[in-house]
C-alpha cells in the first residue's frame, strides 16, 4: 500500500505554483454551456404565476383562459385552494406554472391565469424588534463564567448596537433547470453545488428509483450556498415534463430570483464588553435578533465571534418570523454577521480604552478559538505592514480639515474547511493517457484545476497530459460544495486514487527495470528507479506494459482518516484591514485600499486561491456598502427586486485589493484546507471599523449607505 501524503516541498513541481484555470478558455470564449444555456429538442418554456402579496390564502385559481392561449401546452397549479398549502408566505412565491412553446407565449399565458387571494396579516421587517410582537420568539440563551461580577469589576464597559441587514445571493445564473425524460429516466440539467446528492432529491419526490435520475452540471453561474439540491419548482417542472412528454425549461425571472431563492439572514445585537484598564477583555454580553423568515427557528450568529475564550459570557438570541423568502446558506453562513457584531463591538471597546485596536486585538489574541493564535498575530502584523498601519492609523475621527475623512479598520475571522467525503476513479490507459472522474462540480472556485494539478503532480506529468471528467451524477459520488470542503475532499481523493493507480503501474513496470515496485518513482514524465534517472522508462513506454485494459483505482476522501494522514486539516485564520475615505457632506464611503493575510494550509493552486481572496473581498465591499433587501411593511413587497437598485459592487468601487497567502513551513504541513468562505467574513467589520475611525462615530447598521452615514454623523463624530 502506498504512503498517502503530499510530496515534500522540494519534490513539488506543480503543487503550490500559479496555474491558469483549466476551464478558462471555454468560459472566456463563450463556449461553456451552463444549465440555463441548454436547449433540448421539443423543449417547452415554463414561467410562473406569482403571488403579489407577502401573506395570503389562495381561494380560487382559474386556468381555463390561459390554457386556450396560443402555444400553451400545460398549466400546472401548485398551490391548491382548500388544501393546506393554499397559504402563501412571501411576496412572489409561485402558485402555478405555465408551459408554452415559446417564452413569449408563456409570458402572455401567465397573465391570463386568474387567481383570487384572501389577504392575511404580514410582517416583513425585523430590524425593530419591538414592532415584531409575538413573532419575535426568544430562542437561545447561554451563560459561561460569571458575567455579572465581570461587568461589576470592569474598569471600562463599552456598549453599542450593531446590525447586518438581509442580503440576497443574487447569483447571475438564476435558479432553475432543464428537465427531460427518456425511457422512464430523468435527465436534469441543474445548476447545483451538490451534483451527486441531487439524484435522490429528485428521485424521492418524483417516486422513481435513484437509478432513474441523472443530473448534469458542467458549469454553474454562481451559487454561494443557494444552490444545493433541486428546488420545489424543479421538481414541479420535472413532473410537468413527464406528463407532457416534452423537456421543460424553467429559470426564475430576476424580479423573483432576488426574493424567492434565498438570502443571508439579518442579525442585529446590542453588545456590552467589560475590560480592564490594560486592555484585557473580561466579559461579553450580547442580546441578538434577526429574521428566521417563514421558519420557526433560525441559526443564531456565533457570538462572541473568534474571541470565544472570553472568560465570562452571556448571550441571547431571538428569532423574528417574517413573511419573506427563506434564508439559505450564504457563503460562510452566519460568520459575516457574527464577525460584524463582534469586531465592531471590540473596536468600540478599544476606542473607549483609548487604545490602538491593533494593539488591543494582539493583547487579547490568546482568547481566540478556531485557527491558531500565533497565526492571527502574524496575519495582523502582515496586514499592518501592507496598509502601513503605523503611519496611517490615527485615533477616532480624522481631524484634518475638509469634508473627506480617512480611516483604517481591522477584523479577523476563522472557518473550518475540512475536506468532505467523496470518491473518484483514476485511470491510466495503455497509451499513456490518464484521467480522473468524479461526480463533483466546479463552482468557479477552481476544482477542476486543483484535481488536474494533483493528478499530474502524482504522475510526474505536465498539466496538459492529464484529463478530467466531472459534472455528471453517473460518475463516482462527489461531495456537496458547501463550507469550503471541496478542495480538501477532491484533492485528497485524487491523490489517493492516483497513488493507488501508480502502484499498479509500478508492479507492471518493475520487472523491466529490474527492481521491486517500491523502488520506483514517477517524475519528469518517467517511471524511474528512485533517484536514478538513467534507469527509467518514459511514461508512455511504461504504460505500454499495462496490457489491453486500463488501470483503474478508486480514490476516496474520508475526512477523519485523511486528517490523520495530514492530507487535509481544518480551522484557518485570517486578518483584513480596510482604508476608506468618507465624504461627510454626502455620506459616500470610498475604498482606498483593502488588504488581507490568510492561512489555509497547503495551497494546491496559488493563482485560483488568490482569486478566491480577491473575489470574496470584492463581494465584501458590495455587502458592506451597497447590498440590502429593502422590504416595504405597508405592501409587504420587496422594493429593489432588480439589479439597478439591488446594487452589486462595480469595477470602480473596490479600490486596490492586496492579498497575502501564508504558505511554506508551518502552514504546508497541515495539508489542504478550504478557502472559499474565510475571506468573505471580515470585510463588513473591517470596513465598518475604518468608517468609525474616519468619522469618529459608529454607523450601526450595514450596508453603510450615505443616508446611514449621515444619520450617524448627526449624532456626533467629526461633523
Amino acid at each position: 500500500m502506498p504512503e498517502y501524503k503530499w510530496p515534500e516541498a522540494d519534490k513539488r513541481s506543480l503543487i503550490g505554483k500559479r496555474h491558469s484555470r483549466a476551464d478558462g478558455p471555454v468560459k472566456s470564449s463563450g463556449k461553456a454551456k451552463y444549465s440555463s444555456d441548454i436547449s433540448r429538442p421539443g423543449m417547452l418554456h415554463v414561467l410562473a404565476v406569482r403571488c403579489p402579496y407577502a401573506h395570503a390564502r389562495v381561494t380560487s385559481i382559474d386556468t381555463s383562459e390561459a390554457e386556450r392561449m396560443p402555444g400553451v401546452k400545460m398549466v400546472q397549479v401548485v398551490v391548491e385552494p382548500g388544501k393546506p398549502n393554499a397559504e402563501t408566505q412571501w411576496f412572489l412565491d409561485h402558485v402555478a406554472l405555465v408551459a408554452a412553446e415559446t417564452e413569449e407565449q408563456a409570458e402572455d399565458a401567465v397573465r391570463k391565469v386568474k387567481v383570487q387571494y384572501e389577504r392575511l396579516p404580514h410582517l416583513v421587517t425585523e430590524y425593530d424588534r419591538t414592532a415584531a410582537g409575538a413573532r419575535a420568539r426568544p430562542q437561545d440563551a447561554a451563560t459561561t463564567g460569571d458575567p455579572d461580577t465581570a461587568f461589576r469589576e470592569a474598569d471600562v464597559v463599552s456598549e453599542g448596537e450593531y446590525g447586518a441587514r438581509f442580503i440576497s445571493h443574487c447569483t447571475l445564473e438564476p435558479h432553475g433547470s432543464v428537465t427531460e425524460w427518456k425511457d422512464g429516466r430523468l435527465t436534469a440539467y441543474l445548476p447545483t453545488q451538490a451534483l451527486s446528492g441531487s439524484v435522490s432529491q429528485f428521485a424521492s419526490p418524483l417516486e422513481v428509483p435513484n437509478t432513474n435520475v441523472r443530473v448534469i452540471c458542467n458549469h454553474i453561474g454562481g451559487a454561494f450556498g443557494s444552490k444545493f439540491g433541486p428546488d420545489k419548482w424543479d421538481i414541479q417542472a420535472a413532473r410537468m415534463a413527464k406528463a407532457a412528454g416534452r423537456p421543460m425549461r424553467y429559470f426564475t425571472e430576476r424580479n423573483a430570483e432576488l426574493i424567492v431563492s434565498g438570502g443571508r439572514p439579518s442579525d442585529f445585537a446590542t453588545v456590552r464588553i467589560a475590560a480592564k484598564k490594560d486592555g484585557t477583555i473580561i466579559g461579553w454580553q450580547s442580546d441578538a435578533w434577526g429574521t428566521v423568515g417563514p421558519s420557526d427557528r433560525g441559526a443564531a450568529p456565533p457570538l462572541p465571534y473568534v474571541f470565544r475564550k472570553i472568560p465570562n459570557i452571556r448571550t441571547r438570541y431571538t428569532g423574528v418570523g417574517t413573511n419573506t423568502g427563506p434564508s439559505r446558506a450564504w457563503r460562510a453562513p452566519n460568520h459575516p454577521q457574527g464577525c460584524l457584531l463582534t469586531m465592531c463591538a471590540l473596536d468600540d471597546c478599544a476606542a473607549r480604552l483609548n487604545m490602538d485596536p491593533l494593539q488591543f486585538f494582539l493583547k487579547n489574541i490568546s482568547l481566540v478559538q478556531g485557527g491558531r493564535p500565533e497565526d492571527y498575530s502574524t496575519e495582523l502584523l502582515k496586514c499592518a505592514e501592507m496598509i502601513d498601519w503605523k503611519k496611517n492609523w490615527h485615533a477616532r475621527g480624522d481631524k484634518t480639515p475638509g469634508p473627506i475623512k480617512r480611516g483604517l479598520g481591522l477584523s479577523i475571522h476563522t472557518w473550518g474547511g475540512l475536506g468532505h467525503a467523496c470518491q473518484c476513479d483514476v485511470k491510466i490507459h495503455p497509451d499513456g493517457s490518464a484521467e480522473v472522474t468524479m461526480g463533483t462540480q466546479d463552482l468557479g472556485t477552481g476544482t477542476r484545476t486543483v484535481m488536474l494539478v494533483t493528478l499530474a503532480e502524482t504522475f510526474g506529468l505536465p498539466l496538459n497530459a492529464v484529463k478530467l471528467n466531472i459534472g455528471d451524477s453517473d460518475y463516482p459520488p462527489g461531495g456537496a460544495s458547501g463550507g469550503s470542503t471541496t478542495v480538501g475532499g477532491a484533492s485528497t481523493a485524487t491523490r489517493r486514487g492516483a497513488l493507488d493507480a501508480l502502484e499498479q503501474l509500478f508492479q507492471k513496470v518493475a520487472p523491466a527495470l529490474g527492481v521491486p515496485p517500491d523502488q520506483l518513482e514517477a517524475v519528469n514524465g518517467k517511471i524511474q528507479v528512485k533517484g536514478n534517472p538513467a534507469k527509467s522508462l518514459a511514461w508512455k513506454q511504461a504504460c505500454a506494459k499495462i496490457g489491453t485494459n486500463p488501470i483503474v483505482a478508486r480514490g476516496a476522501c474520508q475526512a477523519q482518516a485523511a486528517r490523520k494522514e495530514k492530507l487535509i486539516d481544518a480551522d484557518v485564520g485570517g486578518a483584513q484591514m480596510a482604508d476608506v475615505s468618507v465624504d461627510i457632506e454626502t455620506g459616500v464611503v470610498t475604498l482606498n485600499k483593502f488588504v488581507a493575510a490568510q492561512d489555509c494550509g497547503l495551497i494546491i493552486n496559488l493563482k485560483t486561491a488568490e482569486s478566491q481572496m480577491y473575489g470574496a473581498m470584492t463581494m465584501g465591499v458590495g455587502y458592506a456598502l451597497y447590498e440590502e433587501r429593502v422590504m416595504d411593511q405597508l405592501t409587504g413587497r420587496m422594493l429593489n427586486n432588480n439589479m439597478e437598485f439591488y446594487k452589486l459592487a462595480g469595477l470602480g468601487d473596490i479600490g486596490t485589493i492586496e492579498v497575502f497567502m501564508m504558505t511554506g513551513k508551518g502552514y504546508d504541513e497541515r495539508g489542504v484546507i478550504g478557502l472559499g468562505e474565510p475571506p468573505v467574513i471580515s470585510p463588513g467589520a473591517a470596513i465598518s471599523n475604518a468608517i468609525a475611525n474616519a468619522i469618529g462615530v459608529r454607523v450601526p447598521h450595514m450596508p453603510f449607505t450615505p443616508d446611514r452615514v449621515l444619520a450617524a454623523l448627526e449624532k456626533g463624530g467629526v461633523a
Binding site: S28, S29, T102, E173, G221
Partner: protein, 217 residues
C-alpha cells in the same frame, strides 16, 4: 457607484428601440388584441408621426451575427438577446437582469458595445453583430479572452462573455487606457464572484498584446 453604460439605442439613433416600441404599444393596444389571432406577419397602422407598428404576430427578421445571415420569424417584442438564446442557440451572451443593468448580454453592434436585452431583434436588422462566439471563431483564443485566462479574470464565468466583449469594444476606442479610464469605461458590467482585479489586469495586458500584433484583434 460609477456606471458608464454601453450605448443604448434610444440615444438619437435611427430605427425602433425597445422603449419606442413600448411607447408605441401603449397606443396600439386595441389593434394588438384584435390582431392576436393573426397567423401571417402583419403591420398595424401607426398614428401619424409615430414609429411604424409591426406585429404583434411574427414578422420576418434577418440578422447578421458573426458574419452569418440568420433568417427568423419572431414577434416584434423579441429582444436581440432572446432571439439569439431562444431561437438561434447562440448562448454566449447571458440573460441576467434583462433590463440594461448588468452587462452580461453585451454584444458589439455596428461597432458599439450594446446590451442585447435592450435591443429589439427587429431593430438589430441590417447591422453587423459580433458576439463572444464571433470573437473566438478562430483556432486561437481572441487576445482579450486569452488575457482573461492569463489573469484569472473569471470564476463562475457567467459574466465573462459579456465582460470580454465589453472590454474588446472598450479597447477599440481606448487603445492605451489608464486605470481610471478602465474603471469608468467598464462600470456597466457586473460580476458577482468579484473578478474585477483580474479584469483590470487583463485589459492592460490585452492592450499591450493588441499593440504588439501578437494575435488577431
Amino acid at each position: 457607484m460609477r456606471r458608464d453604460k454601453p450605448k443604448t439605442p434610444e440615444r438619437g439613433r435611427k430605427g425602433l428601440s425597445r422603449r419606442d416600441f413600448f411607447r408605441g404599444a401603449g397606443v396600439a393596444v386595441p389593434t394588438g388584441l384584435l390582431a392576436s389571432q393573426a397567423k401571417a406577419p402583419k403591420a398595424a397602422k401607426a398614428p401619424a408621426g409615430a414609429a411604424p407598428m409591426l406585429g404583434p404576430g411574427r414578422v420576418p427578421i434577418t440578422l447578421r451575427i458573426n458574419g452569418k445571415v440568420e433568417k427568423l420569424e419572431l414577434e416584434p417584442r423579441v429582444t436581440l438577446l432572446d432571439a439569439m438564446r431562444n431561437y438561434l442557440d447562440i448562448t454566449g451572451a447571458k440573460k441576467v437582469c434583462d433590463r440594461g443593468t448588468c452587462g452580461t448580454c453585451t454584444v458589439i453592434m455596428g461597432g458599439d458595445a450594446v446590451y442585447a436585452c435592450q435591443v429589439l431583434a427587429i431593430e438589430a436588422q441590417g447591422k453587423a453583430i459580433t458576439t463572444i462566439e464571433g470573437l473566438n471563431a478562430g483556432e486561437q483564443l481572441h487576445p482579450m479572452s486569452q488575457a482573461f485566462v492569463n489573469n484569472d479574470a473569471q470564476q463562475c464565468g457567467y459574466c465573462t462573455p459579456g465582460f470580454v466583449v465589453a472590454c474588446k469594444a472598450f479597447l477599440d476606442k481606448h487603445p492605451n487606457p489608464t486605470r481610471e479610464q478602465i474603471r469608468r469605461g467598464l462600470g456597466g458590467n457586473l460580476c458577482r464572484c468579484g473578478t474585477y482585479t483580474g479584469i483590470e489586469r487583463a485589459v492592460l495586458e490585452a492592450a499591450k498584446a493588441v499593440k504588439g500584433g501578437s494575435a488577431h484583434a
